[in-house]
Subunit: 138 residues, 4 copies
């Protein structure tokens, strides 16, 4: 579902999250859309010999789950996505269950801008993406 909270009712400290288990189908579709066929994502033999030992998801795929929270949860519809910074802090393996979370850390009333803390953790609570975003709520 797509939320649409008004700027006025959003408070610093508000949070929202979205969770999904990423499968091979997701990673392969993401490669297929973007053209990123780096072998660590789509070649089991290569990945087995890499530092990761298995195929891993694209960092930008995990990071894109943040967009999901912003676009459908907090602030939801009528949000302009201004910027996103991400650090890729741990690998994501096929079958990992990710939870992207957004937390409002600052509200700039005059410009209707929100600064957001944005993180993605796996099923063990390990942070795989850390970062922050800036959005404008219309």
């Amino acid at each position: 579902m797509v939320e649409d909270r008004s700027f006025e009712e959003i408070r610093v400290g508000d949070r929202a999250s979205f969770s999904k288990t990423l499968g091979e189908a997701d990673v392969y579709a993401f490669a297929g859309i973007t053209g990123d066929f780096n072998p660590v994502h789509v070649n089991k033999e290569y990945a087995g010999g890499s530092r990761f030992k298995e195929r891993i998801a694209h960092g930008m795929l995990s990071a894109s789950l943040i967009s999901t929270v912003i676009g459908t949860g907090l602030p939801g519809a009528n949000t302009i996505y201004l910027s996103q910074e991400v650090k890729f802090t741990a690998p994501v393996y096929f079958g990992d269950t990710l939870t992207a979370e957004v937390e409002v850390v600052e509200k700039r009333e005059e410009k209707r801008i929100l600064n957001l803390k944005t993180t993605v953790v796996n099923q063990e609570g390990k942070m795989v993406v850390d970062g922050q975003a800036r959005v404008m709520k219309m």
Copy 2:
């Protein structure tokens, strides 16, 4: 094809790019993977009444083409993606042809780290994503 340039042969000023026309199929598949069904991306009626007048692509989809250049071109295989910062500077419409470009702006020899300028422009040369990335080349 996936490039694999050695850290030693990469120079400050090196560039690589990747181009693709983003269609409805891309945006819908991206929504389907991530769950970001914000109506501005998938609801023509809603988008028609928005400031954008038409459905637009997800910002993180456009930004993900940067990952394609990094993962398959420069530096290509055996690259660890450490961080990415993006500003979404203009909307991307269905049918726009995007070119993501990466340029090496700094080389930190001791840690095998590269700082990259990362941009995405549309078919009119308008910048739609501006940003920078940090990668480690193994």
Copy 3:
């Protein structure tokens, strides 16, 4: 539906066909599975300046519709696909409606092998793929 005609009831001269309009979604998905992001398929600007003037489908995508006829129509289930030869005789544009046709041209009873004439034509009857296949019917 998947047919399963017995080897005994198949006659030289038997035919079957399958038709589909190929859209951008098909071509993009094919690029996404195979990794073939040649710009003539996925870059409208590049294709516009090419001899084709527009984006075209992958030749092997059009040719793969032959596999559909063989695998689901004639001979259908329990067929071993031994070989396929194709000539790409004309470009296929997004929105073209292709008809793949298979005709039995030879039956080799002792080995249960069939030689097939395999063609793909567009909505104007223009041949886009010409070729032949060899299959074994179990």
Copy 4:
């Protein structure tokens, strides 16, 4: 990334390859595009009772990886695909890692035509597709 080697710099003996692990997602997407729902590809129960014992990939899917090498590697952009012959020499199972390789075996200068040896092998080095292609390099 898409290569674009000039006809002049291509030599007999030049090679390029592309590798990918084929998953269920690939085979199912290929079935979905082409309509080839032969049960040996999409019906685990049926395939279990077949000579293959498991679901296998479509031969034309494996063969299409040759198109990827031709269209993005050797010769890359600005190549006209004239013909392709393939023999399906062994089954491809879900999870197999395929490497498609193209080797230039003949150069016909006057017509800018290249004859290519085209093969696909699995992770054990077993040939699954053998064949040859003819292309024109613009």
